[in-house]
């Protein structure tokens, strides 16, 4: 278990990583950017005398910065939601999408696209879909008030499967011209982020709400009975965790589509890393660390997605999986031999 000082130093390190990922994201791309341009774009008037290249400044401010901020927020949201879901379901295989929230969002978004609505309404429909799925799962699993983990998980998985079928149906009847947009939405794409601020706000609020309860979550992860024995109001905390994780996921999916992999693997990567340092699985450190790591990872992956095959843009969800899978398997393999 880390001390508070250790935890803060780890977080400072991850904050530095986040800074680096932003510099990379802002500097990389088809339009070359100098260091002066970066300063001018970020700090505005103070550095105007340096005379940054106006085109570069415009590109950074108007395109790359909102996109990077959006990617960071979404990565952080997914990683935090994943860590919370893993505690809630006491299952290392849980991810933010396991309870059907992304499925509901996908149905909403695709229906809106099918009816040819504007982006704003697509986002709205996605959020409404996510919310509907969340309430459905909660209502059904909570029905007779015996809210067991298995029942919750099973309900979520079934609702997700139902949503998957509806998504397949929409895809099969959608006109050719809309298919590409739909597929990009489904795979997750930070390019559609127009306004990153709501997502950033939700991420900050989510961390602020979850952190005071982090020690309770440590206990909950070890078992409901143990947690209750040691004074945790289990039913209330579980309900809170469920709704918080669902809200974080819904925000992420609404912002950038269902980007896979981050929510499952970043909490594990973080946990593996912290275990290697001998600091174990402490949610007080794990939750903020996973949020920072998830954000940075998605910023880097998104930068790669828009540069590696430029001018062709790849959906970032594909890249996160392509990079993450081998990294994760490598770490897991080393863990075993150690």
């Amino acid at each position: 278990m880390p001390s508070r000082r250790h935890a803060l130093s780890v977080l400072a390190l991850l904050l530095a990583l986040a800074g680096i990922s932003f510099i990379v994201a802002l500097a990389a791309g088809s339009i070359a950017v100098t260091f002066d341009d970066l300063l001018a774009a970020l700090f505005g008037a103070t550095f105007d005398h340096m005379g940054g290249n106006t085109l570069a400044v415009e590109v950074i401010r108007g395109l790359r910065l909102p996109r990077a901020l959006g990617a960071f927020a979404v990565g952080g949201l997914l990683a935090l939601a994943g860590a919370l879901m893993q505690v809630l379901l006491r299952n290392p295989l849980a991810d933010p999408y396991v309870l059907g929230i992304s499925g509901g969002a996908a149905v909403g978004a695709l229906l809106a696209m099918l009816s040819g609505l504007a982006l704003f309404f697509v986002n709205l429909a996605a959020f409404a879909g996510a919310f509907a799925a969340m309430l459905t799962v909660f209502g059904l699993a909570h029905g007779d008030s015996s809210w067991t983990r298995t029942r919750l998980l099973l309900t979520g998985v079934i609702v997700a499967a139902g949503c998957g079928a509806v998504v397949a149906l929409i895809l099969s009847i959608a006109p050719e011209a809309q298919l590409r947009g739909m597929l990009f939405w489904l795979m997750g794409d930070a390019g559609q982020v127009s306004e990153p601020r709501p997502a950033l706000l939700v991420l900050a609020a989510g961390l602020l709400i979850a952190l005071p309860f982090a020690r309770e979550l440590n206990l909950l992860a070890r078992g409901e009975l143990l947690a209750q024995t040691l004074g945790v109001p289990v039913a209330g905390v579980r309900r809170g965790v469920y709704f918080l994780a669902a809200l974080l996921t819904a925000t992420a999916v609404t912002t950038a589509g269902s980007i896979g992999f981050i929510g499952l693997v970043v909490p594990h990567l973080t946990r593996l890393g912290l275990m290697k340092l001998g600091w174990g699985n402490d949610q007080r450190l794990l939750l903020p660390a996973a949020a920072l790591a998830g954000g940075s990872l998605l910023v880097l992956a998104d930068t790669l997605a828009r540069t590696v095959a430029a001018p062709q843009q790849l959906p970032v969800g594909v890249l996160t999986a392509l990079i993450g899978v081998p990294v994760f398997l490598f770490l897991l393999g080393r863990e075993k031999s150690a």
């Binding site: 278990m1 001390s3 508070r4 935890a7 893993q86 006491r90 299952n91 290392p92 008030s145 015996s146 005071p212 020690r215 440590n218 206990l219 992860a221 070890r222 078992g223 409901e224 009975l225 143990l226 209750q228 024995t229 040691l230 004074g231 945790v232 109001p233 289990v234 039913a235 946990r271 275990m275 001998g278 174990g280 699985n281 402490d282 007080r284």
Partner: protein, 267 residues
């Protein structure tokens, strides 16, 4: 002295089956109680009810000055307000039968969990908390394994770790559900003696045990649960007899005396 547990006219029921009926009982500081009974009579259910972890059916229970209101609520979580849940957690401990560790964790971390009820919302474990946990680990013979991964422990070591977690909690009332499972003979004796030392002051212990010999050796009091709501509580030298045990287990038992100690073996 105020009793650590007092029940009045308690009825505990699980799945239509009565565990104890008209159960009026007190546990005073310094007392050691053994609960004996056949599989499935509800020993664990009663213990969990006394720990405030599941609601009783009717009657009154006061544990460590906390009135565990008897509610007809069918939910798993006893409807205790957060405040009493916390003050209960500071004074009574509960050793469950099973321990699960879905996520990796070290032995030290797992022992430190017991400090939770004593820490404020923003507190982190201090050096003092660590010292308490280290002492607890030493008491159960796990001092050298503090940094070990919990998954690498044997069944008996894991059980001792659960005991250490209880000691770290520093409660006044120990409620133990089969504390000796998975333990080898020497550790069974060590753990019982450790608890007896702890209960010499103002602490008390209630343990579900399966060996009547251990019950009479370490607990001056016994509670026999016969399975149809019937119960018998009193000094173990009186009520733990071959006759009562034969009725209790539905199998004839014979008493053997050696060095002033009584042991019971199945015929």
């Amino acid at each position: 002295m105020t009793p650590l547990i007092s029940t009045r006219d308690l009825l505990v029921r699980i799945g239509g089956h009565e565990v104890c009926r008209a159960f009026t009982w007190t546990v005073q500081p310094g007392e050691c109680w053994a609960i004996l009974g056949r599989n499935g009579v509800g020993k664990s259910t009663l213990l969990a009810s006394l720990a405030g972890l599941r609601p009783c059916t009717a009657g009154e229970v006061t544990v460590c000055d906390v009135n565990i209101a008897v509610s007809p609520s069918p939910t798993f979580s006893a409807a205790l307000p957060h405040g009493s849940l916390r003050s209960l957690a500071q004074r009574r401990s509960y050793l469950a039968q099973n321990h699960s560790d879905p996520f990796p964790s070290t032995v030290m971390e797992t022992a430190l969990i017991g400090r939770h009820p004593h820490l404020g919302r923003w507190d982190w474990e201090t050096g003092a908390d660590r010292a308490i946990a280290r002492a607890a680990l030493a008491e159960v013979d796990l001092a050298g394994l503090a940094e070990r991964e919990v998954h690498t422990l044997s069944g008996g070591e894991r059980q001792r770790l659960a005991v250490a977690q209880l000691l770290t909690q520093q409660p006044q009332l120990f409620l133990l559900d089969e504390p000796l499972t998975h333990l080898d003979l020497s550790h069974q004796v060590a753990v019982m003696e450790l608890f007896r030392r702890r209960t010499q002051g103002d602490a008390a212990l209630v343990a579900v045990l399966h060996d009547p010999g251990f019950a009479v050796r370490y607990c001056e009091h016994a509670l026999l649960l016969f399975g149809n709501g019937e119960w018998l509580a009193g000094p173990s030298h009186e009520i733990v007899s071959a006759e009562n045990l034969s009725r209790l287990y539905g199998h004839p038992l014979r008493e053997i005396c050696s060095n002033n100690e009584r042991w019971f073996i199945p015929c």
